[in-house]
């Protein structure tokens, strides 16, 4: 026993020593993100080249700084990145907090433009104000060309702008016709036909309920009952569409501007209660998916793909049309025009106008955000900010966009014809571009296309491009956005959604608590067994928001902030859309878009 034990102890010690020697010694030796080669090349190269470090905490695929497109981007911009540190897929705020306390802040940082972390970085004086670069048309023509409303929108509380926005609309009054808003009412065409109705019959709440009742008893191919209506995936995701039907805006944290300029939360409006009364009535009559209150997205998707629903009030993106195309063995890229000629497959979902109540104007739930999705901030301690800003200025050009999107023309993913980009899908969807492993993300970061646009780029709305017809299932999403335009549920992202809460204020503190209360009581309101119980639950909800959610404090604080914000240039932004630039959705052959 003793000998055996001794032997095993010796073996363990030996393995430990060996592992320690082989692994532990290689601590800081080879950082794949550090382009040592680049550094040496650059040291030997021109003196003008400037070297910086970049931190992209929302990026999780390692960046290869020797990628062919990356090299080209660095050369043309004149900015050489020695190190691009990426995130770990965990909480970004936590990662940045640690970076701040560790004192290891890079020369530049990319963050989502609406991130609350910007306020933190500004208050800790980590960032350089960039105002002068947006006003200097002589040295930074492309930065100066950015619409002043975009700059104003991103100004911090102290009035300065601290990051270069990316992915913004180049001409704010002439945006793309596709902004990604597919929310609304989606109906299964074949069931509507089976019920002997048309989309016109669904324009009132009574007509819509009539449809739901008509399909209530129907069975699907497997003999399972059709569920007349769904509110989308988890956490009542389609609720904002229902609220819109009752004149209540519930996007963001549900602030609704009143005639006197003040804002009130959605649950204080009569339409909110009416909307839940209606949903409760649907629930009690077996017209609403009984698992709405507690289902996870996986379960919802299972029902969607099995065509269990007759209608959906939801975000639109999770519709089953793409699965139907596959199930019917149709080419995935078939255009909507070609599909219509063939006949839409059984079970096809189409977006439809929302039912309305007389005297109630539909509230906005679809937003148009021309201000861009991410931004690049520059460290207050940077050595040579002008050179970096010069590089970011170049990245605002169409030439830079095309390089970052498709690589150099020599790689074969595109060619220029009559001033328009003509994409070669065989290459662009091939292994070196989007066809690579990890859905293309490895190629993205190895070769260096696409992701650089997060650092700095203009939106592509006005870049002339020969575009292939959209696949039919995407055409439906586009159609949903057109409907949102027509019925008035689409608009500029509201002021209330653009305001950043005060760090440490009541809104920041109690928003998470209020969200929890909301989810808990939404379920109770939906599942109330009768009117008395509904009334009781509704009053409990209001009381909880007051006591636990401290809503008197949050409403007072937000109103004060809203009033102050309305007086700032950002609060006064108005956008009148002169025209929208359509995409190639309903044709069956490629056409030029962006002109």
């Amino acid at each position: 026993m003793n000998n055996r034990w001794k032997k095993s102890m010796i073996s363990v010690a030996a393995v430990t020593m060996l592992a320690a020697l082989t692994t532990g010694c290689g601590t800081n030796g080879n950082n794949s993100n550090t382009a040592e080669g680049n550094k040496q090349d650059a040291a030997a190269g021109t003196a003008k080249e400037t070297h910086y470090t970049l931190y992209a905490p929302t990026q999780t695929t390692p960046i290869n700084l020797d990628g062919p497109i990356t090299k080209e981007v660095m050369e043309k911009s004149g900015v050489h990145w020695d190190k691009v540190e990426i995130g770990n897929g965990g909480d970004v705020t936590q990662q940045i907090n640690l970076k701040l306390v560790g004192g290891d802040f890079p020369d530049a940082i990319i963050l989502p433009s609406d991130s609350l972390i910007w306020s933190r970085l500004v208050s800790e004086k980590k960032l350089l104000p960039l105002d002068k670069y947006f006003d200097d048309a002589a040295d930074y023509p492309n930065l100066a060309k950015i619409d002043k409303r975009i700059i104003d929108n991103w100004r911090a509380a102290d009035g300065h702008i601290y990051f270069v926005p990316s992915g913004y609309e180049p001409v704010v009054d002439e945006p793309s016709a596709w902004q990604g808003n597919a929310q609304g009412l989606w109906v299964q065409d074949s069931l509507l036909k089976k019920a002997g109705m048309t989309t016109d019959d669904l324009q009132t709440i009574d007509g819509f309920e009539k449809y739901l009742n008509a399909i209530k008893g129907l069975k699907d191919a497997q003999g399972r009952s059709i569920i007349p209506l769904s509110l989308g995936g988890e956490n009542f995701s389609g609720l904002e569409v229902v609220m819109s039907m009752f004149g209540v805006q519930s996007m963001g944290y549900g602030w609704n501007e009143q005639a006197d300029g003040s804002v009130v939360p959605d649950y204080k409006l009569p339409g909110f209660k009416q909307a839940f009364e209606w949903l409760n009535h649907l629930q009690l009559n077996g017209l609403l998916d009984p698992e709405t209150s507690f289902q996870k997205k996986d379960l919802f998707m299972e029902k969607v793909n099995n065509l269990r629903f007759g209608a959906m009030l939801f975000d639109g993106w999770d519709n089953p049309n793409q699965s139907l195309i596959k199930a019917n063995k149709l080419p995935e890229s078939i255009s909507y025009k070609a599909l219509e000629e063939k006949g839409l497959p059984e079970g096809w979902f189409s977006p439809t106008k929302l039912p309305t109540t007389p005297g109630v104007k539909l509230a906005q739930y679809a937003s148009f955000n021309p201000f861009g999705g991410s931004g690049t901030g520059v460290s207050a301690k940077i050595q040579d900010p002008d050179a970096l800003m010069k590089g970011l200025d170049w990245m605002q050009t169409q030439e830079a966009f095309i390089l970052m999107e498709y690589g150099p023309e020599s790689m074969g993913a595109y060619k220029m014809e009559n001033g328009a980009v003509v994409v070669n899908d065989n290459v662009f969807r091939g292994p070196k571009f989007w066809g690579g492993d990890n859905g293309g993300m490895t190629s993205v970061t190895e070769n260096g296309f696409w992701w650089w646009k997060n650092l700095a780029s203009v939106g592509n709305t006005h870049i002339k491009t020969m575009e292939s017809p959209w696949p039919s299932y995407n055409a439906m999403l586009y159609k949903a956005e057109e409907i949102n335009h027509e019925q008035g549920t689409f608009g500029l992202i509201p002021k209330s959604s653009r305001i950043k809460p005060i760090i440490g204020g009541a809104v920041e503190k109690y928003n998470p608590v209020q969200s929890d209360i909301r989810l808990q009581y939404y379920a109770k309101l939906l599942l109330a067994k009768n009117d008395q119980e509904f009334e009781k639950v509704y009053n409990q909800f209001l009381n909880e928001m007051k006591v636990r959610g401290h809503d008197e404090d949050t409403i007072a604080e937000f109103n004060k902030e809203y009033k102050a914000y309305s007086e700032t240039p950002a609060g006064k932004i108005t956008i009148t859309v002169k025209r929208t630039l359509p995409r190639n959705v309903y044709n069956d052959k490629p056409v030029i878009v962006g002109e």
């Binding site: 003793n2 393995v15 897929g89 699965s323 890229s333 066809g435 859905g439």
Partner: protein
């Protein structure tokens, strides 16, 4: 020959049935994860898969295993688990042994200090600053050194040493001229193997599963362990799917893998399988010590 009575037979039957159901309830979710990890993602989203993959694919694993850094991540994890577990058992048991000796001066005060720091800690940021000052950020030893001493395990070991090592044996060794070090290596360690096996397993599983240290304290991708790597891959898959959707692109007709096979859920399932499989194999080997080990120290004479 001893025969079971009818009531005993009934008890055995019900007992076995209930335990079998319980075992099934524990094992089935794991099996379900394995099945989904071998099924095409988009097909799995139709539901109705319970026992076997309906449309078999290895692509979920291909996506994860494709990156060469996974091999490095695997060995980092093996190394930290081996060094971390061995080192932790050694250091912790030495402290426990010291504190189990009543003649140690200041023993109660030390135990109080340990109890206090076990219940209260400074939080993430002071800990991070400490690591910065110790130059452990971006260093392999960040996986090992902070975890070398586990107070919880120390208390378990201390109680066990006090209860299982007869004082008379220690005294007789002392009379024979053995010092504390000799007593520790010749008596305490050999008698505590079951305890070491049980606590070693807990520590090893903790090391194996820990993604946080690699994610927040190590930036160098060559030093990241397997769980951190897998967490990063998951984020990448989700991001790429979001990009594909937002690009409104036509089908990835020339993909290297079958795009239908990959959904974030199917990759997540494959990730879970890869993470738990190696450590799962360790259990049978230490099982014989396991029950005995975790009960040690729980009863006082």
């Amino acid at each position: 020959m001893w025969r079971l009575t009818r009531r005993e037979k009934a008890f055995t039957f019900i007992n076995s049935s209930l335990l079998a159901i319980f075992a099934f309830v524990c094992a089935y979710p794991l099996w379900y994860i394995v099945v989904l990890s071998f099924n095409e993602g988009r097909d799995a989203s139709l539901g109705g898969i319970f026992w076997w993959p309906r449309v078999f694919t290895m692509d979920n694993f291909r996506v994860i295993l494709n990156d060469h850094t996974i091999v490095n991540a695997f060995w980092i994890t093996v190394a930290r688990t081996a060094i971390g577990t061995t080192g932790s058992l050694l250091i912790t048991s030495m402290v426990a042994y010291g504190l189990s000796r009543k003649e140690l001066p200041g023993r109660n005060q030390l135990l109080l200090v340990f109890l206090f720091v076990m219940l209260f800690n400074g939080g993430l940021i002071p800990f991070y600053l400490q690591l910065v000052h110790l130059k452990l950020i971006n260093n392999f030893w960040v996986y090992v050194l902070p975890g070398l001493f586990s107070i919880w395990n120390m208390f378990v070991m201390k109680t066990s040493f006090q209860n299982t090592i007869p004082e008379a044996v220690v005294e007789s060794m002392k009379l024979d001229g053995a010092g504390y070090t000799r007593i520790y290596f010749n008596i305490v360690l050999p008698f505590s193997m079951p305890l070491f096996a049980a606590l070693g397993l807990f520590t090893a599983v903790g090391h194996w599963n820990d993604w946080f240290t690699g994610a927040f304290f190590v930036n160098d991708l060559n030093l990241q362990p397997l769980p951190t790597y897998l967490q990063r891959i998951m984020s990448t898959i989700e991001a790429s799917q979001m990009i594909s959707a937002s690009q409104m692109a036509s089908a990835h007709s020339v993909s290297l893998y079958n795009p239908d096979a990959i959904t974030s859920k199917s990759v997540r399932m494959a990730t879970i399988v890869i993470t738990i499989l190696p450590i799962l194999f360790v259990y049978p080997f230490v099982q014989r010590f396991f029950v005995k080990g975790v009960l040690i120290g729980s009863v006082k004479e």
